[in-house]
């Protein structure tokens, strides 16, 4: 599954790991994150994430 990086702070959302800081279960693809999800480190909105190669 595709990883995404926060362009504000460099946090990488890895679907395999999910986001325990926001209660996101492992295996959740980026596209299926809830609408209010924000970067767990710097609180940047989802629109500021960029696909990682």
């Amino acid at each position: 599954m595709k990883k995404y990086i926060c362009t504000n702070c460099g946090y990488v959302y890895d679907p395999a790991a999910g986001d325990p800081l926001s209660g996101i279960a492992p295996g959740t693809p980026f596209d299926e994150l809830p609408p209010g999800w924000i970067c767990p480190i710097c609180y940047a909105p989802k629109s500021q994430f960029d696909e990682l190669e």
Binding site: I5, C6, T7, N8, C9, G10, Y11, V12, D19, L21, S22, G23, P34, P35, G36, W37, I38, C39, P40, I41, C42, Y43, P45, Q48, D50, E51, L52, E53
Partner: protein, 1126 residues
Amino acid sequence: MAIRDEKILFFDGACGTNLQRMEIPPSAWEGRDGCNEFLNVSAPEVIREWHSSFLSAGATVLETNTFGANAIVLSEYGLADRVAEINRAAVGNAREAIRKAGGAAYVAGSIGPTTKLPSLGHIAFQPMAAAFAEQAKALIEAGADLLIVETCQDLLQVKIALISCFGVVEAMKRDVPVMVSLTIENTGTMLVGTDVAAALAAIEPFPVFSVGLNCATGPEGMTSHVRYLCRHYRGRVSCIPNAGMPQVRDGKTHYPLSPEAFAAQLAAFVRDEGVSIVGGCCGTTPEHIRKLREALEGIVPSPRNVVEKPSLSSLYQAAEIRQEIPPFLIGERCNANGSKRFRDLLLADDYPGALRVALEQQEDGAHAVDLCTAYAGRDEQADLSAMVRLFAQSVQIPTVIDSTTPDCIEAALKIHPGRCLVNSVNLEDGGKNLERVCRLAKTYGAAVIALTIHEKGMAMTVEEKVETARAIHDLAVHRYGLRPSDLLFDVLTFTIGSGDATLVDAAATTLAAIRRVKEELPGVSTLLGVSNVSFGLSPASRRVLNSVFLHEGVAAGLDAAIIDAGKVLPMSKIPERDREVCLDLIYDRRKSEAESPLYAFIRHFADLKPAEEKSAADANLPAIPPEEELAEKVVAGDKDGLEDLLSILLSRRPAASIINQLLVPAMRRVGELFGRGEMLLPFVLQSAEVMKRSVDILAPFMEKAEREEGRRVLLATVAGDVHDIGKNLVDIILSNNGYRVVNLGIKVPAETIIEKARELRVDAIGLSGLLVKSALVMRENLPQFAAAGLRVPVLLGGAALTEKFVAQECVPGYPGPVVYCADAFAGLSAMRRMDEGTLSSTAFDAAGTAPAMTPGPRGAAVARDNPVPAPPFLGARHVDRIDPRELFPYVNEQALFRGRWGYRRGKMTAEAYEELVRGKVRPMYEDLKRRGVEESLFAPKVAYGWFRAFAEGDTLVVEHDGRAWRFPFPRQKTPPHLCIADYFRTRAEGGDVAGFFVATIGEEMTRATQALFTSDRYHDYLMLHAFGVEVTDALAEYWHETMRRELGIAGERPPAFSAYVVQEYQGSRYGFGYPSCPDLSAHEPVFELLDPGRIGVTLTESMEMVPEQTTSAIVVHHPQAKYFAV
């Protein structure tokens, strides 16, 4: 135990400053006052007593009193003929003291730097080498266990001393370890300007026992240099500092560091960095050494994670052979055979002119410069020696000594202080020259280029090239003692442009040989004279072919290239079709029966004219109408030839029409491309520069009324906020889309905005601000605007704003439209809606938008019984000697590239993005780092401290010097209801410790970025400003790590930068003004505690820090402390 097995060696303390305190009978000097070395023979009991004082303090190594006991210094006292006697007596005195104490200690023969600086021409190689050899021989003969070449101020002096010492050690067949100890002034370099990396590059090829530092400063001043050595040098690292920086009090020199403080600082280097040889220099007493031993009782040096970087160096700086972005470029133009210009300058004896050719290549981005003075009719050695002397003093990049004559090579190696590369050796004569040159390289610590030429001539096939390389490698490594990393193999290439049927695969053969050499001879590097590949072709096409071939070479493992650095084209500048034609030729891929790859190449490039300014891509474009060309230039961000183009257009239509009908629509298209993610922000700014330049050129051709057309927008960063990058980006975008911008600057109070808005009758107001507090200021400003009768639209932008906050908190306070703008283009779009009459206030539909989540630590309650680490000291300290290069590894590159610079991948393929980063973004980043250092844009300074503290509800109470300061912290309004105070023990729980820091990169960066903005260099402005912001953050990250280490909670260094991002370390730092503690008023107590005025940081009346590139934080050690937002 052998000396090499000792875990930690404890050297003794000062000589001079302690002898001054002892009672020396005046008669002992025999009129040679100040010659301490003479006391070895005239007052041995004094010297033995001095030694004994350090033995009983716990020193395990005594340094002989022979710092100046060489012929150069002793001749100043008429003692030149007593060198051996004095050194012998000195070793005897140390031995006698050890015998009397009945202990076991080592004797280190001290070898000082003399009073001459050979790099500056004070003394030649030979006399200095003779003096060092004489002293070293006397010390070893008298039984010294090791030698220490210390207080080195001149890199050439270090090399001369090492060559002499190892010459003696080898001749006497003795295993005597030799230590090197450099003196790095508080300017960050050795006396003649050498930085630590350059010094290490020149020293590490020698078989020294250790490299380290002594004198000049106390331990703290050595921190970044010690770290560099511990992380990049495989051998032992020594540290023998002064008892602090000397201060003059009542006419007497005084060293401020107490034994306890000295010991604590120095012990930290052992514990945290792995230093394993310690001791004291000026101002250190036996008590300093005693405390040092106590502090290190039972401690073993921290294991080190050494990353070696094989490098060359100039007198000033090092250059890594394995560049992060290969290749290592060696400028080829200082060659009497290859460059007519250089030859003519040499023939005219114009050495300064010839030097300029080197400096130009340095400017063009060469990493090193080749120097060849061999020319029929000239004295090669005289020319080479003169030029090397000039290069050594004036060229910042390393020198490549290009000669086939070993005598000339040796003469040059004796003059150049840095680590040179010798060009070259081969097996043409069966190996005679090879032996001589390899032995020279070994003796002088140089690296060597080896060409694959054997007795029958140049190696042509892959097999021959690899076999020749292997033969040279085996001789150089196994017989002459060089290391694989000292060798750079040039497997040679031949032209594929001649039509010679035997050479059609020459380029592909070379690439294959590079691959095999890298695979089969591990550790060696490869190099190529790239331009040979294209001999016989047209100059313009050669440049393209050379660049493509170089790119292929790097992909095959090529590390270095000898090439005209100014003529390398980045791949991104070479059109796809050009590249394909080059690749067909390089790999001999025939695409049609009728036409060979060479003929196809020549036909394809037939119309390509040599172009200095224009890239090959531009030159290929067919003629297009000037109207279209102007639009394309705007979109492409290309300013070349703009004047000519505009003057043609002015003959066809009026200036105002060029702006309104051509330029503004072109910028609109740029905005659309950006909006669709098809154009990145840096390119938008280049387009805006073209727009701005065009408007400036056209302005004289317009009426005043025409120039003043367009709606007027007032922009300001709100009161209390010094951040202007966001507002300035809006200025750039609006003013280059036909609006007239009145930019009031930063920290603008509401009253000034109201006054100017009325006076200039603006059509809209834009407010900006980065801080959380600025959002509140905007909310407060709006009712004031309303009360003053303003009704024009107000646009709001800033990092802390959200659509919801604007709609719910700001819109109700103002009768006109209040609009949230996420970025500069949202601002532009708002202005366009205003023009169309469709602008309305931001609305927020709570139903349609999910509430933002609140990430952060959750679950478990904050542990109350977390152990409180012992702070290394209490109170504030100031550090102003941080090497900016130490900070670069802590730069958040992803945030810089993708976030601040706007180089997002977006819809690009992974390959295209990688190419963009590799070909453009990263080179720009490397260049900015280099320029930042060279132009001194960074002056990193830190004020920090540790304090006793305890929690009292939501307040942290900090106690120091009998006073108390209160920090009330906000608490989350939603679960888990965190507050920073939760991470500290209460008074009843025994109290706690808190750290604070204020860190700045100084004022210069702000000045430099401001200058770029005012001269309309928008692109460079954004790049440099963003770089400054990220280096400031890097300083905070670096310092936070330093403070964790001081507290002993640093643990292992996180393996990659991404681990710092997610706080994979113990504790946290919370910046004031950021989500965990948005209130800036905490700066008041922080500034009282730390006194950051001493590092040039002050507070504005609204509690913001100046200079702009400054950051502050509270450092919390509790393991559960992580970022959260209130």
